[in-house]
């Protein structure tokens, strides 16, 4: 059962502010979706191992440093090089 409270908690976890209307609407839709996903519980999967992508240690990136040419930050809210962020408390 996915309740409104649950959706509210999850939206906080995801830092997404929802309006009361959205909360109502999404709760119903998400409940339906999650119920559909529950089919996963019915599958016999005891001896199935997940596929894992692998890479050899020798193929990892060599330790060389290089700078980035250009401006990678896309905000105009800066001060003395720092990026301005909202206050912490």
């Amino acid at each position: 059962m996915v309740t409104k409270e649950e959706v509210k908690r999850l939206s906080w976890l995801a830092r997404i502010e929802l309006s009361e209307g959205e909360l109502e609407r999404y709760t119903l839709q998400i409940e339906e979706i999650v119920k559909y996903l529950d089919v996963l519980d019915t599958i016999p999967l005891e001896h199935v191992k997940p596929v894992v992508a692998k890479k050899k240690y020798a193929d990892l990136r060599p330790d060389e440093s290089s700078g980035f040419e250009g401006n990678a930050l896309g905000t105009k809210y800066r001060k003395d090089g720092y990026v301005k962020g909202p206050r912490m408390v």
Partner: protein, 478 residues
């Protein structure tokens, strides 16, 4: 001559031999875009510098300099693939002002081949959707019937190719987002084996599932683009080694398996077209028979668990601090600022991020995410067994015909169900291509052809064989 109707081979040859100039060709395309865009709305932005780039190519050719295989060819790029200096919005408010300081590897390789980016195409926000209706820039319309959806999430890419606004396009496919709009728009759309094409520069939605894929009006065009962009990339550690090249080949006696679960799940109008396609293949010397892929019934649940889980994490970075849209952080406490700016995601994105947070949250990992990953294993095993018997597996790309804009938008789960035929290839990491199979009620139907991992050549052999035999119309009157 209507240069915008030519396919890639003709364009590249014509420009190189100076039969016509790249400038003339691009100019015609820009005119064409202006003419039809109001009806189609395939583009988020058109590249103002395209004409200049064309002139550069022309000069190089005049001066006898070396130019690449795709010199002058106009490509449209889905707006979730980073283009340096060109706005890349993912059809989202969250990237409203984002101009990437770097090119995606695929874009760089296209430039190296001499191609010209003519514009960025429309998509469902952050590639989440199957109709391109979840976009800030309005929905793209199906060029075959502008009241119908073009498919998604790469709807703009497919429509731009079908509507002759460009010659080829690049999209991305996480659960069918290249093949679905290809099917709905009567284009060729290919999703490669996971790891064949670099994802560096593709804005992540579900990174263990997605790949960039080319669109064209012909199999040959798709092969040309594939050859330009596929291959290992040191900037993407999930790419496979090597630089494969593909060609158009005559292939006799292909063993073809028609997946029962796909054909039985399709609407009768769609199934009819697909059965006819099977007949065509048989006539061309293929050995066709029906077969079964039992795990299909779990595929959608597995897909939406993994996709939403990864999306919820991949989209966490959009907090408007380093890039985004213009909203000063001053005056806000940081949690409120984050929650406020992120309320600007569209509905579908918000839903998926919340579902994703749910399936990953404490205590649920074993129940959903782990199980979903195990299902992938199961599917892959089953497919591998089938590919010992068959060269390719086929079925309808979509279980339904293109539908009216707005028809499924209020029922998310119903919308998810249309992906049933396409998610399998993403879950297994195997290649799949949609080729135009015909029409039903005047609307396009696509045939999906799947092959084992890294067996793109075999898959393309089947696609080319079918295309040459079926000769389905590729662009509507617009």
């Amino acid at each position: 001559m209507a240069l915008y109707t030519l396919d890639l081979g003709q364009v590249a040859a014509g420009i190189k031999s100076r039969e016509f100039s790249a400038e003339e060709y691009i100019y015609q395309l820009l005119e064409r875009i202006e003419k039809v865009e109001l009806k189609v709305n395939a583009f988020v932005s058109v590249n103002k510098e395209a004409l200049d780039k064309a002139r550069v190519i022309d000069k190089k050719i005049r001066d006898g300099e070396q130019v690449g295989a795709l010199a002058g060819v106009a490509v449209s790029i889905k707006d979730n693939i980073c283009t340096k200096g060109i706005k890349t919005t993912c059809a989202s408010k969250m990237l409203e002002t984002f101009v990437p300081p770097y090119d995606a590897t695929v874009v760089k390789r296209l430039y190296d081949a001499g191609a010209i980016v003519i514009g960025k195409t429309n998509l469902d926000e952050f590639a989440m959707g199957s109709t391109t209706e979840f976009s800030r820039h309005g929905t793209t319309r199906n060029p075959w019937d502008i009241n119908m959806v073009p498919g998604g999430s790469s709807g703009g890419s497919a429509a731009s190719v079908a509507a002759l606004e460009c010659t080829v396009s690049l999209g991305s496919d996480t659960g069918g987002s290249v093949r679905c709009p290809a099917s709905f728009c009567s284009a060729v759309g290919l999703k490669p084996t996971y790891g064949l094409i670099s994802r560096y520069g593709l804005v992540s939605y579900a990174n263990s599932l997605e790949q960039i894929g080319p669109f064209g009006r012909t199999v040959s065009d798709v092969v040309s683009v594939l050859n330009a962009i596929a291959g290992a990339d040191e900037n993407d550690h999930t790419t496979a080694e090597g630089k494969p090249m593909y060609s158009l080949r005559e292939r006799k006696g292909l063993r073809v398996g028609l997946v029962r679960e796909f054909i039985e799940g399709a609407e009768p109008t769609v199934a009819k077209v697909v059965h006819k396609a099977v007949d065509t293949l048989a006539r061309e010397g293929c050995r066709c028979e029906e077969t079964s892929l039992a795990s299909v019934q779990y595929a959608l649940a597995s897909y939406y668990t993994i996709a939403t889980a990864e999306a919820s994490s991949n989209l966490a970075r959009y907090d408007n601090i380093r890039y985004g849209f213009d909203l000063s952080p001053e005056g806000y406490e940081w949690n409120s600022y984050f929650a406020r700016v992120r309320s600007n995601f569209g509905e579908e994105v918000k839903r998926r991020v919340i579902v994703g947070s749910y399936v990953l949250s404490s205590g649920y990992y074993g129940k959903y995410y782990l199980k979903a990953q195990q299902v992938r294993s199961l599917l892959k095993r089953e497919l591998k067994t089938l590919f010992e018997k068959y060269d390719v597996l086929i079925g309808p790309t979509m279980p339904i015909l293109p539908f009216k804009i707005g028809e499924k938008i209020d029922d998310p789960l119903k919308m998810y169900l249309v992906d049933i035929d396409t998610v399998v290839a993403n879950l297994a990491g195997m290649p799949a291509v949609s080729v135009p199979a015909g029409f039903a009620d005047g609307l396009p139907v696509g045939l999906q052809i799947m092959a084992d991992e890294f067996q793109e050549q075999t898959m393309l052999d089947a696609a080319y064989l079918f295309e040459q035999a079926a000769k389905v119309q590729r662009s509507p009157e617009l």
